[in-house]
Amino acid sequence: MSFEMSKRSLFAATALLAVTLAAPTAHAQSRAETLRYVTGATVNTLDPNIPGSTREAFALSMSSYDRLVSFGRKQLNGKWVFDLDTITGELAESYSVSPDGLKITFKLRPDAKFQDGSPVTAEDVKWSLDRCVTAPILGKAQLLTGSLTSADQFKVIDPLTFEVTLPKPDKLALPNLATVYPIIINSKLAKSHATAEDPWALNWTKENAAGSGAYIVETFKPGEQVIAKRNEAWNRGTPDKPAAFKRLIIQSVPEPATRANLVERGDADLVIDLQASDVQSLEGKAKLKVISTPQYNAVTFISMNNTIPPFDNVNVRRAIAYALPYDDMFKAALFGRGAPLYGATWADGKPPSGGYPIPQPIKLDLEKAKAYLKEAGMPDGFSTTFSFNVGQAATAEPMAALVKEQLGKIGIKVDIQKLPDAQMSTAINEKKLPFFTEGIVAWLPSTDYFYRNFYTGKQRWNYSSTDNAELEKIAQEARFEADKAKYEDQGKALNAIHFDQMFQIPIWQAAQDAVMQPTVDGYVYQFTRQVDYRNLSRK
């Protein structure tokens, strides 16, 4: 008995010793093969379609699920960004568009497997896309912008061939299938968790990933961390091999200064949401790699509600546009990190391009501002409030102070109103704010899309409550315009109306500052404004 005991404890001691000795090397090895990404936000669902999903949840879903197609990448001013015009296959090995543009046929990869080992079939694709346009989820409104609205449009030809039919040729149909929502789900697995009230298994997918993506979620603690391991069988990357990092840690660290410390000390590998001041100082120290990309699919506005007096008067809006201290705001709010949308010179006063957004020929000119105010019949100015949300205080607060100070010079008295995020969204949705700053983002940044979504209708994103018949008509026409030159002209016309009517003032595109260890390679700015973990590797 006692002999038995001592033998056992001797064995245990040896094992313990072995473990202790082996542990440090194993730890070091796995550290190099692990990507530790820290963020102020949090992943709140494993299914990006669930209403209320955060951007971090979108980013994770890019890696845990596959879509039929994905965006390529291109260089913009020497930095890699996603490319809307290159659509490559993801689960689709290839695709073809019929000559009349009404049918898109996808050939699926024959070797693609879900994370549980079952093959990906056209049936799964059909179920997943049906779900996207039928269930009460986020994908519905997104796919609508690509003329994908009904399950009848999706057809299984054979287990590896899938066909999408469109009511009319829509150049956004294919790009829409590369966005976050149309994930391809293991339909057999999901269906087994569906219930009568929840036929699309939303409650289950919220907390369980059933995809074929590059990373398999191991631990999911909302508000704390997600840990995922590499899917060795995944081969949808460009060089047809699995993702580079073996393990992925997405950790929520709410304090920005702590995130800066972590990455500077080398404990974190990558962070994209530091304060501009911290980025500035880290860049100065030159120990880390800093990639700043202007968020070319996002715009920050100083917005005016065109239905609330005095902003219903175009001359008041013009007066504001010439009274703002753009350069000072850009420096104070963003430390100059981003792309300004002011201070351009338009030859003969016409927009030089049909893109959106383009820099406008507005700059600080108090004389001009005063003249417009006089023309509006308000030479002595007026009083108004300027609102921003708490979540953006770091940039909006200094901006608001400058707006207040500067507008005071032309007699406009501004009260600054700082609103909690939910209050701000509510007030904007109810069109109650006269004058405020907000941002927009478009996943598929084409001119007509911007104008249709952000300058028409009574919906939330029409910050300026613009209601302009001509603009709406041109934007709707442009949507289905196949001729590139004509589309460009339409874009120019829209930009000209925008500048003339000054619905709201696009001020800049803030930079996405990705700060990473020098060993981290392959970062690409994505349409989600998040990191696509599959792009990254360690040198």
Binding site: T34, Q142, E255, T258, R265, A427, N429
Partner: protein, 343 residues
């Protein structure tokens, strides 16, 4: 036995009498959240294409489309069954979130309180023994500094020095090194779970992780505890029974600790109870700075986005804890001063 029994009966009676107050808190928070101007449905329907339809879907999902009395009735019914609702923010059941996060907050707060008491009581006693002396002024200065510097400043400062400059402390990201393996969950208190699992290395890692945030919080609450100890000790040292004790030649230790301190400790216990309850809810800044997954930062995040269920759950939890802490203070009173049980 008699006194213990009496204390228990009293505690039980106290608890029952606090139930209406808890119910009041429940209803009040419910109404308060709905009076606030933010609309959670609009906030959470914030994807690039979400329109009115999405807002309605979320509103329905949250039950916000029903009239207010109905909502309240459903809520009360759910709470009665132990269901605190679902958080939009984390996508989890609130009860589950709170259950996971409460041990983290308790572990931090209790450690901080322990550090605070261990340092505040001796400091207060020392100051009271030599009022007006250099020691007294030193303690006053230390307390003033502790209470003047906001916790997020002292927290960031400690991180800067011990983590960033010297590298002695582990990275300030939560309760345990992200690469470490967790012990099997028994109590939810990591330093206890590691001990139960016999994993000393893990225990040390967790304790190291706990040190800085606990210190930050302790610094902030040492002041009230030390000040109250000092004031109460002064009264007690000047009283007749201490003079008598001195005159009969009892030892210094016996006079100060056994007689003076035991008599002076009542207000300290009261304050400690209050400090504990406040810390638990108000340590949100410490939790944020150290990425501590506690209940306070959870509630703040929820409040910012008008996520009703977590905020209501949090307030209910805090109210319950407050009631329990008060009961505990009562019981401790009885032990410290047997006269208290009579009343």
């Amino acid at each position: 036995m008699g006194t213990i029994g009496a204390t228990l009966v009293r505690a039980g009676r106290r608890f029952v009498s606090s139930l209406p107050a808890l119910f009041g808190v429940l209803v009040f928070t419910f109404l308060l959240m709905r009076v606030l101007p933010g609309d959670p449905a609009v906030f959470f329907a914030s994807s690039p294409n979400a329109g009115q339809e999405e807002i309605e879907v979320i509103r329905k999902q949250l039950g916000l489309d029903k009239p207010l009395p109905n909502q309240l009735a459903i809520y009360l019914y759910d709470v009665g069954r132990g269901n605190l609702g679902r958080s939009m923010m984390t996508g989890q059941a609130v009860a589950k979130d709170l259950k996971e996060r409460l041990p983290a907050s308790l572990e931090l707060t209790l450690t901080a309180l322990l550090i605070a008491l261990i340092s505040a009581v001796p400091l207060g006693v020392l100051a009271a023994l030599r009022p007006g002396s250099l020691v007294d002024h030193g303690v006053r200065l230390f307390c003033s500094l502790g209470v003047c510097v906001p916790t997020f400043v002292s927290g960031l400062l400690l991180i800067y020095v011990f983590y960033y400059l010297f590298g002695w402390a582990p990275d300030p990201t939560g309760r345990i090194d992200i690469f470490a393996t967790l012990p099997p969950q028994r109590t939810g208190f990591l330093i206890i779970d590691f001990l139960l699992a016999g994993d000393l290395e893990g225990w040390w890692a967790a304790a190291r992780q706990l040190m800085l945030p606990a210190l930050t919080m302790a610094l902030f609450v040492i002041a009230p505890l030390a000040r109250i100890t000092r004031a109460s000790m002064l009264v007690s040292l000047g009283s007749d029974f201490v003079r008598t004790a001195r005159s009969v030649g009892l030892s210094w230790w016996r006079i100060v600790v056994t007689y003076a301190l035991r008599n002076a400790i009542l207000p300290v216990i009261t304050i400690a109870g209050i400090v504990f309850s406040t810390m638990l809810g108000a340590n949100v800044l410490v939790e944020k700075v150290f990425s501590w997954p506690g209940v306070a930062s959870y509630a703040l995040d929820a409040l910012l986005v008008s996520d009703y269920a977590p905020v209501q759950g949090f307030v209910l939890l805090m109210a319950t804890i407050f009631v329990i802490v008060n009961l505990l203070v009562d019981v401790l009173y009885g032990i410290a001063d047997p006269r208290a049980t009579v009343a």
